[in-house]
């Protein structure tokens, strides 16, 4: 076993093979994630097609400014995540740590704003259920359906972000122990792929939920 780096698992011939296996596994997992969210996007397409007027009215009850700011926050967190991977790859552990912490901070800002929006929906009786009340011109049932999908889709997205924050926290601990270098930074890279995927989901959720019709 001489000359074999400690991060190389025994079943792999070399570090490059191990890294490729990790990437393929991660992308296969992300394919299942695409389908996980895909079912909800499919339901969205059917009911938006069926109740276009009620959905555009319901969509205007979402705060466009908060949604836009949150999209910008999430895109920025993708940038800091990409910079964290870049710093790990180019052997700058302090920068890796800093960018990971920035990503966590931006994620918490996003979740804070999301929580604020949820609270606003709660106080305005727009959470589907026995207390849902609708004062719009269009069908209350169709509007409730919109908010059901709004909470299901953004809720699943937020849970993914919470998992991402936990993963980033673990990476910070590992980075603190100087676990990453140019030769081995796979955990940072894989968490990056997951983080960018979650960002991509939001890139579709934002126009579908907040921007149905703002004219």
């Amino acid at each position: 076993m001489s000359g074999r780096p400690s991060h190389l698992a025994h079943q792999f011939a070399d570090a490059a093979q191990q890294q490729l296996a990790a990437k393929l596994g991660m992308w296969a997992f992300l394919a299942t994630e695409v389908l996980f969210f895909g079912g909800m996007f499919a339901a969205y397409a059917v009911y938006r097609g069926r109740y276009p007027a009620a959905w555009s009215e319901a969509s205007r009850h979402l705060d466009l400014w908060l949604g836009t700011i949150n999209t910008a926050v999430l895109l920025t967190s993708s940038l800091t995540m990409a910079l964290a991977v870049d710093a790990a790859r180019t052997n700058h552990p302090q920068h890796t740590m800093r960018h990971l912490l920035e990503t966590i901070l931006l994620a918490l800002v996003f979740l804070g704003i999301k929580g604020w929006e949820y609270a606003d929906k709660w106080w305005n009786h727009l959470v589907p259920g026995p207390h849902f009340t609708w004062h719009g011109d269009q069908s209350a049932g169709a509007a409730e359906l919109f908010f059901s999908l709004y909470f299901a889709m953004t809720g699943c997205h937020a849970v993914h972000m919470l998992i991402g924050v936990a993963l980033l926290g673990i990476l910070c601990r590992q980075a603190n122990r100087s676990a990453f270098s140019t030769d081995y930074y796979t955990p940072v890279e894989m968490t990056g792929l997951y983080w960018h995927f979650v960002d991509c989901v939001w890139v579709f959720l934002f126009p579908l939920l907040y921007l149905i019709d703002r004219t």
Binding site: L35, Y51, T71, D86
Partner: protein
């Protein structure tokens, strides 16, 4: 994957993503009729392509990794196409109701 930093490329991509965000919010305020969702999804697809190619490194990956990255989208396309073949071919099912 080793070697020089790509900070500059990442910052430029981030700038492009913010511009596209502004464009998509702006486009929602223009009466485009049935083209409005097409524009919104088109811009989202461009943003996703930028994130995938640059932030997720698909630009530099081997074709094997790229094929894996497309697998989810191919199955999602099957899901949506078969769904549409059902809902769009039955009169009354997808008709707008108020």
């Amino acid at each position: 994957m080793k070697g020089a930093s790509h900070r500059g490329v990442y910052l430029a991509t981030f700038g492009a993503l913010l511009i596209l965000l502004a464009v998509t919010v702006g486009a929602a305020h223009i009466p485009l009729g049935p083209w409005s969702p097409v524009a919104a999804m088109g811009i989202a697809a461009v943003k996703t392509a930028l994130i995938g190619l640059v932030f997720m490194h698909l630009q530099q990956e081997t074709s094997l990794v790229r094929v894996f990255s497309l697998a989810g989208l191919i199955w999602l396309t099957i899901l949506l196409v078969l769904l549409a073949s059902d809902y769009l071919t039955r009169t009354g099912v997808l008709m707008a109701r108020h």
